[in-house]
Amino acid sequence: MKSLVENLFDDIRIKEGLKACINCGTCTAICPAASFYDYDPRELTVLVQNKNEQQLKNLLSSDYIWYCGECMSCKTRCPKDNVPGLIIEALRSLSQDTGLFIESEKGRQQLYIKRVIGGWILKYGYCLYLEGVGTNTHPEQGPVWDWRQKNWSETLKRLGANYKGDGPGILRKIPEEALEEIRKIFDETGATARFNKIEEYSKKKAAEMNLEFGDGLDNEYFHHISTHNSNKHNRE
């Protein structure tokens, strides 16, 4: 059985994103996550570079790998052609595929993304399908959004959409055959497997945490992972 280190270094994003880090700090200097969170892409890269199995296991189980916003500002500047953002992508993939993501507060949030974003992709063929997503869960959207939600299809129509319609156009109904192809791609390439893993591991963790677990977006565990913040993540 392959070690975590071996699995990680099989990822093409490690080949592309980790050459050799010399600790110069150019990436951390402009990383948005490093300015707000107690996070340092330089330290992350050096840690991964160490290829230490226990350190890697700890990393995959920690909040540390979930702070990055994948803006890729680091890629533009590194003098050694490293890409901490790509390393993060590889770490997050491995963390989910091994189930270690459920050990951290931020990692557990993957269930939210899987059910919401993943749900929309499989059901509608869009990453976002926002009818009914209102300011109760997204207060930052404001009163104009409330008005839009009240008049969702009318405002879309006003602006030239083909909402739920056949043929081309904004937020059209994506044909069932196309969605079926996406599902087959998901099955063939490991997305379905990952989605299932996210569910299984989350269910186990909910039981451990004594939180009610159910399908959909309205259960104790789901609310907890979407909203809970220990407030221990910020840089002093």
């Binding site: 300015s35 890729m72 976002l128 104009v144 056949d166 156009g169 979407s226 913040n229």
Partner: protein, 356 residues
């Protein structure tokens, strides 16, 4: 800033942009948040520029938001991308034009990975064939929709009814240009003007009469951060990033912000509202905030399209002060009507941010 230094850089970073026969793939964020922008883009392409731009109704999301949310594995997103290429090939096109910047970044990244690791391209071809029976050619030209508008910004200027000039002072409108991170930070040579001083939006603004202002946090991410915004518990990250930018640009007194990524204008618009509610602070003049526009909206405005056709009514930060400055007329009584002129009610007023 010394212009000669900038011109030297811009000359280094020019890229090939196809001039017609485009295969258009839509943006999830754009369609939900700024649908008028995609409508306006196609209108300009077809009616003003006479271009052939085609949308295959079987195309889907490229799943980049899922990929950068880390729920979608790399092989999956590459195969979905391959499917988009297959639809393009099947439809007889070779010039791919994504509406979304994250898509554009993803397509560029996938093509680059396949270039360096041809065995991965082979693997994905096999996956696609097995899952869907499809085969594909890689696009000959890949350009973001904002690159296309940049390419034709002078043609648009020639047809423009309005200029980005403050009619009260005669001065050019002061514009902050915000470039989506995934446009050129990953592959500077694939962005007009490169990664440090991107020119794609500046070129448009200058062609249309405005003036770009620089400020220290210009290159900073707006804060989408994918999972950092999607999950409510993390959203402080997004607010902090946008706030950093607003605090930095404020003293330069911009009249407006222009963006080329679909998500960025949503954040820069809505988070001004959020900050006003959280801290009581409003940027810009007269408590209105700094209006945020998509490049399609700015193009539509200078061409004289009705602001409510291009979709300004869905903005939270009021656009009217900017329209007043430019001298673009608008009928407030028609702002919140449906397509037949029927009444749809009105949004409530915000507590702090002054709205029209």
């Amino acid at each position: 800033m010394k212009l000669e230094g900038l011109k030297k850089i811009w000359k280094e970073y020019q890229k090939e942009i196809a001039d017609n026969n485009y295969f258009y793939v839509r943006s999830c964020v754009r369609q939900n948040f700024f649908p008028g922008s995609e409508t306006t883009f196609l209108r300009i392409m077809k009616e003003e520029l006479g271009k052939n731009i085609y949308e295959n109704p079987c195309h889907t999301t490229c799943t980049a938001i899922g990929y950068h949310g880390d729920i979608i594995p790399l092989d999956t997103v590459m195969t979905v991308v391959a499917r988009q290429f297959a639809l393009m090939t099947e439809s007889g096109y070779e010039n791919l034009v994504p509406s979304c910047i994250t898509s554009f970044g993803l397509y560029t990244e996938v093509l680059d990975t396949w270039h360096h690791f041809p065995e991965i391209e082979e693997k994905i071809r096999k996956y696609l064939k097995k899952a869907t029976g499809r085969e594909f050619e890689k696009p000959k030209n890949l350009a973001h929709a904002s690159d296309i508008i940049y390419k034709f910004c002078k043609e648009i200027a020639a047809k423009a009814k309005y200029k980005l000039i403050n009619t009260n002072t005669g001065e050019p409108i002061k514009v902050v240009d915000h470039i989506g991170c995934h446009y050129s930070k990953m592959f500077p040579s694939k962005g007009i003007g490169g990664a440090e001083y991107p020119y794609v939006l500046q070129g448009m603004i200058e062609a249309w009469g405005g003036e770009i202002i620089d400020y220290p946090e210009r290159r900073h991410c707006c804060g989408f951060g994918f999972r950092q915004f999607i999950v409510q518990a993390n959203r402080g990250y997004s607010v902090s990033c946008s706030k950093k930018k607003f605090d930095s640009m404020e003293q330069y007194k911009p009249d407006m912000i222009i963006t080329n990524c679909p998500g960025c204008p949503m954040f820069l618009d809505k988070l001004q509202y959020a900050i006003s509610e959280m801290e009581g602070k409003v940027y810009g003049e007269n408590g209105h905030g700094i209006p945020v526009f998509t490049y399609e909206e700015v193009a539509g405005l200078v061409l004289g399209y009705d602001p409510w056709d291009i979709g300004l009514q869905v903005h939270q930060v009021a656009c009217e002060p900017l329209l007043d400055k430019i001298g673009i007329p608008y009928d407030l009584s028609k702002k919140y009507l449906d397509v037949n002129g029927g009444c749809l009610g009105k949004p409530e007023k915000a507590n702090v941010l002054k709205t029209y």
